[in-house]
């Protein structure tokens, strides 16, 4: 892109900067998972403020260049200002600190409301000097006195500055406070340097002359060829008062004139644009760096690793929990067996059904009596058996007992174990910690209950409605068991009748009771067959039940915990994408600005 000097380049930049600022603010306000440190947040807020300020300042035909004097108390900032103005515009005195209210020196054609809001509250001094029409010179409070409010005022003003005139004296050019402020600001603004009270610097007997010393320090900071002016402002002020054009007795190498010329003529429109563009460019470069630093990493590989690690942990946990829950069922094994027996016998009818019901009742008489007898210790609440037992209530009791005894504590331990595993796989813990801990607080008792009920029902279905060859065995046996006793009964009655009436044998008690014996014997035989082929034993139910319960619990645990790392990683990925988008837009603006920056030679105002 070639640059047309007539094109209002800076003005077009304003909306771009506003857009960028808005995006930064939206990004700041967004809810995010990946942490942004306080420092980063403050930095972005500061950048957004600066962008807005810059945009407002650029949104005019001829932007103003703000030159700000900065330095320790007593180095002669106000004196320098007065010398530049050729009149007493700033208060200068021997008491320290002198300047508390900043002075803004600008052309009388500039309306004060065109100044940055931070400058509008300062003292105004207007002039009619044509060469300075586009420039605003600001005298600021000190950086180093005991009056800390002065430093705060200065720091509020600094963001407005395009060019900072770092004023040092023989005593203070090397001071830590000013130097640190310079290092903090040098990335954002242009810097030129003034060594005031030059008359006190020239009589060096030993050591470096202060200007050489300062140049050496600046070189170390990356300013190869800085603009340094050696001045003795007091002499120029005195000369002005005495009506002399040039003061008498100026020390060798005094450069106040050069400084004035540079401010008036050296900073042309092209230079001003370049300084402004450079300021914007530096701001944007900084924005890029900050956005890069807050861009979260891609956590997907870690999430996959965490997933694998968690699967193993959760499987372990499910096995342990299943054991605990099963052991709480142990005291109720008789009831469970009883329940299954009753359910299994529902397919039988007639004599067989009656016989089985009677034997079952006999067999489990003790366990049904347990809760009815006084003085027998109870576990949990009463259990209703067999047909009308309340499965839900019974199971709830079990899971509550288990929860109170063991599981609640196991769950909080589980969360800790999972977090430790995740950390070992390199997943940032703060992102997982809350969600994992919250998952532990879900209503697990209800999940245990559900798992128990479902597995019990499934096992019951399996026992009562088998599939495959079992189904045929069961069907055949049921048919056989249902049919045989009536056949035997009828057959034996027929036999007795035959003996009585056909063979006319005398009736005997033994013969008369034959149908009863025979039928009973058949029933016992059938019962034995049922017990052999369709066993209902706790030991076997238990294993089946345990297996199913473990699967169920594993499902529940997996459903609750396993998605967490992936979801977090996905959310962070989305945040990364947003940050990348922001960085891309910033880069585009940066490239656009870059070309304009090269248009004039202002490089010496910036270090490397």
């Amino acid at each position: 892109m070639s640059i047309d000097p007539q094109q209002p380049f800076l003005r077009t930049l304003a909306p771009l900067l506003r857009g960028l600022e808005k995006q930064l603010r939206t990004w700041l306000d967004g809810r995010r998972l990946y942490p942004v440190t306080m420092v980063q947040r403050a930095e972005i807020e500061g950048l957004a403020d600066d962008l807005k300020r810059k945009a407002d300042a650029l949104d005019v035909d001829r932007p103003l260049l703000v030159v700000m004097l900065m330095g320790g108390t007593g180095v002669g900032k106000s004196t320098l200002m007065n010398a530049l103005a050729g009149a007493s515009v700033a208060q200068a005195s021997f008491t320290r600190p002198t300047t508390r209210d900043p002075v803004v020196y600008f052309h009388n054609t500039v309306k004060p409301d065109r100044l940055d809001p931070a400058l509008r509250l300062c003292r105004f001094a207007q002039h009619d000097r044509e060469p300075l029409v586009q420039k605003v010179i600001v005298d600021t409070p000190d950086v180093d006195s005991n009056d800390l409010a002065n430093r705060d005022k200065l720091k509020e003003l600094l963001p407005v500055a395009d060019v900072v005139l770092y004023v040092g004296s023989q005593e203070k050019y090397h001071d830590q406070l000013g130097w640190e402020l310079f290092k903090e600001q040098r990335q954002r603004r242009a810097f030129a340097f003034v060594l005031n009270k030059w008359d006190r610097c020239v009589d060096a007997e030993k050591g470096l002359r202060p200007d050489a010393d300062l140049l050496r320090d600046l070189k170390a900071e990356g300013f190869e060829n800085p603009r340094l002016f050696r001045t003795t402002a007091q002499l120029w002020v005195d000369a002005e008062r005495n009506g002399e054009a040039v003061p008498k007795g100026l020390p060798d190498g005094e450069q106040f004139r050069e400084l004035r010329d540079w401010l008036e003529a050296g900073l042309t429109r092209l230079e001003i644009e370049a300084v402004k563009a450079r300021g914007v460019g530096q701001l944007i470069a900084q924005a890029e760096a900050v956005i890069e630093s807050v861009k979260p990493p891609d956590l997907s590989p870690q999430a996959a690793k965490v997933r694998t690690a968690w699967e193993a942990v959760l499987a372990d946990e499910a096995a342990a929990q299943a054991d605990v829950l099963i052991s709480t069922l142990e005291p109720y094994q008789q009831e469970v067996e009883h329940h299954f027996s009753v359910r299994g016998q529902q397919n039988f009818w007639g004599l067989t059904a009656g016989y089985l019901r009677a034997t079952t009742k006999m067999k489990y008489l003790g366990s049904t009596l347990r809760d009815k007898l006084p003085g027998v210790p109870r576990l949990g609440s009463k259990v209703e058996t067999p047909d009308d037992w309340n499965l839900t209530e019974f199971v709830q009791n079990c899971s509550r007992t288990a929860g109170e005894r063991v599981l609640t504590q196991r769950l909080s331990a589980l969360a800790n174990r999972l977090l430790v595993e995740a950390d070992q796989k390199g997943f940032p813990l703060p992102l997982l910690s809350d969600r994992t801990t919250d998952t532990t607080k879900l209503d697990w008792e209800q999940r245990f209950t559900r798992g128990l009920i479902e597995s019990l029902t499934e096992v019951e279905n399996e026992v009562t409605h088998p599939v495959g060859w079992r189904k045929w065995v069961r069907g055949g046996l049921t048919l056989f068991a249902n049919a045989l006793p009536p056949v035997v009964l009828l057959g034996s009655i027929a036999l007795v009748l035959y003996q009585l009436f056909v063979n006319t044998e005398p009736p005997s008690l033994a013969m008369m009771l034959l149908p009863v014996y025979a039928t009973l014997a058949t029933l016992v035989f059938v019962h034995v067959l049922i017990m052999v082929f369709l066993p209902v034993r706790w030991a076997s139910i238990r294993e089946q039940f345990r297996g199913r319960l473990q699967t169920k619990l594993e499902d529940e645990l997996t459903r609750a915990y396993l998605p967490i790392p992936d979801e977090v990683a996905a959310a962070v990925r989305e945040e990364k994408r947003q940050a990348e988008g922001l960085a891309k837009e910033t880069r585009q603006v940066a490239e656009w600005v870059d070309e304009r920056e090269q248009a004039a030679h202002v490089a010496e105002l910036y270090g490397k």
Partner: protein
Amino acid sequence: MDPHAHRQKVRQLADDLAWLEDHCRKNADLAVHAAHLRLAAALTRNVIGPAADGQPARPLFAAVIGGAGAGKSTVVNFLVGAVVADANPQAGFTRHPTAFLPAAFGTAWPSHLGFLGPLQRLASEQPASLDQDVYQVKKLDPKPDDPLAEFVVWDCPDMTTWASANYVSRLMEVVAVADVVVYVASDERYNDEVPTQFLHLVIQAGKPVVCCLTKMREADTAALVEHFRQEVLAKLPASVGDIPALPVATIPNIPPEVRKDPAGDGAKYRVPLLNQILALAPSAEMARRRTVSNAVKYLESAGDGLLDVARRDLTELDNWRSVVAAGKQEFEQRYRTEYLAGEAFRRFDKTREQVLQMLELPGPGKFVSAALALVRKPYDYARQFVMKTVTRPAPPNLSEQAVCTAAMEAWLAKLQAEALRRGGQHPLWKQVTHGFDAGLKAQATDLFAQRLRALEVKETDELDQMARAVPEKLANNPVLLNLLRGGIIAADVAVIVLIVVLLWPPSWWWLLIIPAVSLTRQVVEWVVKAVVDAGRNKLKAQRAALASEQLTTPLAAWLGDWPTSGGSSLEKLQAVLRRVPDAIRELAGMTKPNP
């Protein structure tokens, strides 16, 4: 007392204070304490040490301090009365202290061991800009009636340039040794924050100070002094000792030829300055006594502030311990509910059998017992059947070891997760996390296994002891045993006799003997069971306490102390905090003048 013991004490205290200073510098929110600790260490080395050693009061020391370019070297020249110090316009030129030794002392330099601490004395003369931890001593030419003949005058580096961070420690060392401090402030510097803060530190430490304002126009002198008093001197902090109000002398901006002739043309400015210094030190002994006593007071006040330095670390240590304690509580809770609640202590069933066995009749009485047992047989069978149907099987109990191991793992996982969660809050949690990476878990598990074994041994002993208690008591008390045996057989006989007499002649009714004899037996069994179960319950109650005492309490103590063991900085901090106040008290006692 060993004559060298106090030297050892002084060195230890100075080292401890230096370590604390270092510790403060590492923590941003403690940095404010660092300067005080540095000064305290320097005072220990340079004032308390020589005083405890009985070093002479002479020479006194005057340190000239101030911001860069304030005119310290010029003031030194005025004090000495000749141009001896390099005055030049490069800010921060002087980078190590130089002592100007009056001719009267000859070669007698107070070379006490540890004096000026880390600073080495330069053997040969070097420019003042040499940036090393050194000092040099320049001997002055003899002068007749030198007013400061008792004083060594120190020219010090500045504290305002950005390079001063490297050498401000040298300045501190010399300020500590000083009996009088001369604070130089120029017309540019007199209301600067950094030198003023330094002045505050010097005042707080109880050093007498003379202020010297420089470089103002002669005409402004009075107004400037007034402003200085108002802005700076009126806002000074409290001092530990009694020091006189700060006198202010002035050396205005004077032509170089006057500056270079302090004893002649400059005498106008020099004499008031010297008078102020001499007024602060009427005699060497008195001045040195004040220096020592103020140094002691400063150390004592610093001792009070030490806890502040460590507060955050100690709070965090408390946090760690409370996490450990919470883990301990969870462990014990799990031990109680998962193990103890379901534990039946079957050993006591054996005891019951044993006691019942002992209550049977001995010798020929055996036949009577056997006969009665035969009579009770039907009842026994019936009871057995009923009990079997009615009793629920107990849920299987987890083994103690399994429960403890699981609980221990949970405890450690809790600590590790908590340390990871709080990693950003304080270095302590980082230290714990590193510990877990470097075998803390294995160590804890080893200790746990060891304690668990010890617990199991104790438990077996205790169980055995308590289970044997009742039978042993009976065995050791034959009278009681026989009385019981007699009582039981008497009850049986009485019941039989009663039925025989009441239902005479013999009939089926005599079968009532069977339930009657069974009933007496049942009563005996209930009583025995109650006695044995009392022991069982007592054991259960004691078991929780035993596990706490043998297992969890030692483990919690070990874990709680872990961050302060193994040469960690917290361990050192605790040791230093214990040592420092004692050392200060002892040294204060040593330097008190003998009554």
